[in-house]
């Protein structure tokens, strides 16, 4: 076998990394990842349909997790608020569009991770330097912590429907987070979290219980109408919240790091795209189902101004009965738990990448004390804040989603520049059509943010632009 090159390069790029000695230490993390990759190689070697399905099963994970993880507490609450305030209409196709935007963006992180085998934070620090790197990390840290708070709000409110006291709700969700981690194996963690994330689809039967008017759904998908009340400041806030419910900075960091931790390579990129598209389809189905589930509140003219997660469930009791409402509340709990796992993991990955500490779900506690501590402390800190009485919960979640949208353009530009970095990506740089789509997403998000700013700072200008 040939000796390693004197100046090893990244598998797809032409950037020389510093010379690596022929003696390369093997770590526990490498061994665990090698076991996973060996199964992938075995499945790939066989050509039967069953083997290909098995290969897909082995390779899906980060994409489905990131999409269903983003269908989190505040997201489902935003969709519930959307359905109850606007019914079936404009927001059905609008939410679909946001998931297409998410797919366009997230696919890039798969390519970046598979091509470079490095996490997102690590690449930003390496290629743009610590000055821009720290800006990016501050955005992520603040955004993740605020979002984590809202996850525990959803968990607390959802379990509140069943009479569980807030402290017990918060403690039990932290226990679930801990249990997902105890195996110290990425594969086990991923499968456990995927199983939990599948419960996000609980909103589909809830929607069916409301007997949606399918013809109205079809008409809305084609015409993007109606939009009750027209384009107002409140409509803009809900639009931003729904965008923030689908595309947020933590998703970029999480999926790229998870792609690396899972060990995906260039050969797996096609499966990574399928994984992300599958996740987007499932998450879109759950999101639209949530809008459909709460749409009867709109037709019954029930004010949803101050609804919290559990109150949506209680309001739905006359429409879908106690069992249906209980499913809705359970969905909120699931959304909060899965997202608290994925978001705290994304914070821990980013911390490890920047601090150059071991950062993998394959490492044992003794090697990854800093990684696991950051992961758990982020979640515990956010959980503790939720126990503060008197928080305006719905307002907090809408504002957090808006902040996510506002933080997205700078994060996307880093992603855009990295994925078009020929030295890093080699022949895997984004094709023109992908760049055009990604540019549209950046422009759309920036425009939405600017419009929001105008509506707050100068309502007259907002009216001049067609709002009211």
């Amino acid at each position: 076998m040939p000796a390693p090159p004197e100046h090893p390069t990244n598998s797809s790029s032409s950037v020389p990394v510093e010379t690596v000695s022929a003696d390369v230490a093997i770590t526990h993390e490498d061994v665990d990842r090698a076991h996973d990759r060996a199964r992938v190689s075995d499945a790939r070697a066989r050509k039967s349909l069953f083997s290909q399905m098995y290969l897909l099963w082995l390779l899906i994970g980060p994409g489905v997790l990131v999409m269903l993880g983003e269908n989190d507490g505040p997201s489902m609450l935003s969709y519930a608020a959307t359905g109850s305030r606007y019914g079936i209409g404009f927001f059905i196709p609008f939410v679909l569009l946001t998931f297409i935007m998410a797919l366009v963006v997230q696919e890039m992180t798969v390519r970046l991770g598979a091509a470079t085998h490095r996490g997102h934070a690590e690449l930003i620090f390496d290629r743009f330097g610590p000055f821009w790197g720290w800006f990016s990390m501050i955005d992520l840290t603040i955004g993740n912590f605020l979002t984590l708070i809202t996850e525990f709000i959803a968990i607390r409110a959802g379990l509140g429907f069943f009479g569980v006291p807030p402290w017990a709700a918060v403690l039990s969700s932290l226990a679930v987070l801990y249990l997902a981690l105890v195996s110290h194996r990425y594969w086990t963690w991923e499968r456990l979290t995927l199983a939990a994330a599948a419960f996000n689809l609980i909103f589909v039967p809830v929607a069916l219980l409301t007997h949606p008017h399918w013809r109205s759904v079809g008409t809305a998908l084609i015409t993007w109408k109606p939009l009750p009340g027209g384009f107002s400041k409140d409509t803009l806030l809900i639009m931003l919240a729904d965008i923030g419910a689908t595309v947020t900075p933590w998703m970029l960091f999480f999926q790229q790091s998870a792609t690396v931790d899972k060990g995906l390579t260039k050969r797996d990129i096609r499966f990574g795209l399928i994984d992300t598209a599958l996740g987007a389809a499932l998450a879109a189905a759950a999101a639209i189902a949530t809008i459909l589930a709460t749409a009867p509140l709109f037709t019954r003219h029930m004010s949803a101004e101050n609804f919290q997660a559990a109150e949506f469930a209680q309001a739905l009791v006359p429409v879908i009965g106690r069992w249906g409402a209980a499913l809705f509340a359970l969905g909120m709990v699931e959304a909060g738990i899965v997202a608290s796992i994925t978001i705290s993991t994304s914070s821990a990955y980013a911390f490890g990448e920047v601090a150059r500490r071991p950062h993998s779900l394959n490492i044992p506690w003794t090697e990854g004390k800093a990684f696991y501590s950051v992961l758990f402390l982020c979640a515990a800190g956010a959980a503790a804040i939720v126990l503060v009485p008197g928080l305006p919960l719905v307002y907090v979640v809408l504002v957090v989603n808006v902040i996510a949208v506002l933080a997205m353009p700078p994060a996307l530009v880093f992603l855009f520049m990295l994925v078009n970095d020929k030295e890093l990506m080699g022949d895997l740089v984004s094709p023109r059509w992908a760049n055009a789509l990604a540019s549209c997403v950046v422009v759309l998000l920036t425009a939405a943010g600017v419009l929001f700013g105008i509506s707050v700072v100068s309502p007259r200008w907002f009216e001049f632009l067609g709002g009211h």
Binding site: M1, P2, A3, P4, P8, N10, S11, V15, P16, V17, E18, V20, A22, D23, V24, A25, I26, T27, H28, E29, D30, V31, R33, A34, H35, R37, A38, S41, T116, H117, R118, L123, D126, R127, F128, G129, W132, F135, D139, G263, T265, P358, S360, Y395, V399, V402, I403, L406, A407, P409, P410, V413, M417, L424, T446, G449, F452, G453, V456, V457
Partner: protein, 73 residues
């Protein structure tokens, strides 16, 4: 790619070492991933865009804080 596996604190048997060397790409090894990619040189327009978006974000955060404050009052 031939690499002699050096034993770390944890001892791995020969079959595990062989599994790692045959299943992972060189760039996937934890030790190799510790190497930094070199810094890229940003062009003027790229720096402008990064600064513009940074200012945009700071301004919008101020708007959000103002909105939260005005709603609270």
């Amino acid at each position: 790619m031939m690499m002699k596996a050096k034993k770390e604190r944890t001892t791995f048997d020969a079959s595990e070492e062989q599994l790692v060397l045959s299943s992972l790409e060189r760039d996937q090894l934890t030790e190799v991933k510790k190497q930094h990619f070199p810094r890229r040189r940003l062009k003027g327009f790229q720096v402008f865009v990064l600064w513009a978006l940074r200012i945009y974000l700071l301004f919008m955060m101020a708007v959000v804080i103002y909105q939260v404050w005005s709603s609270a009052h």
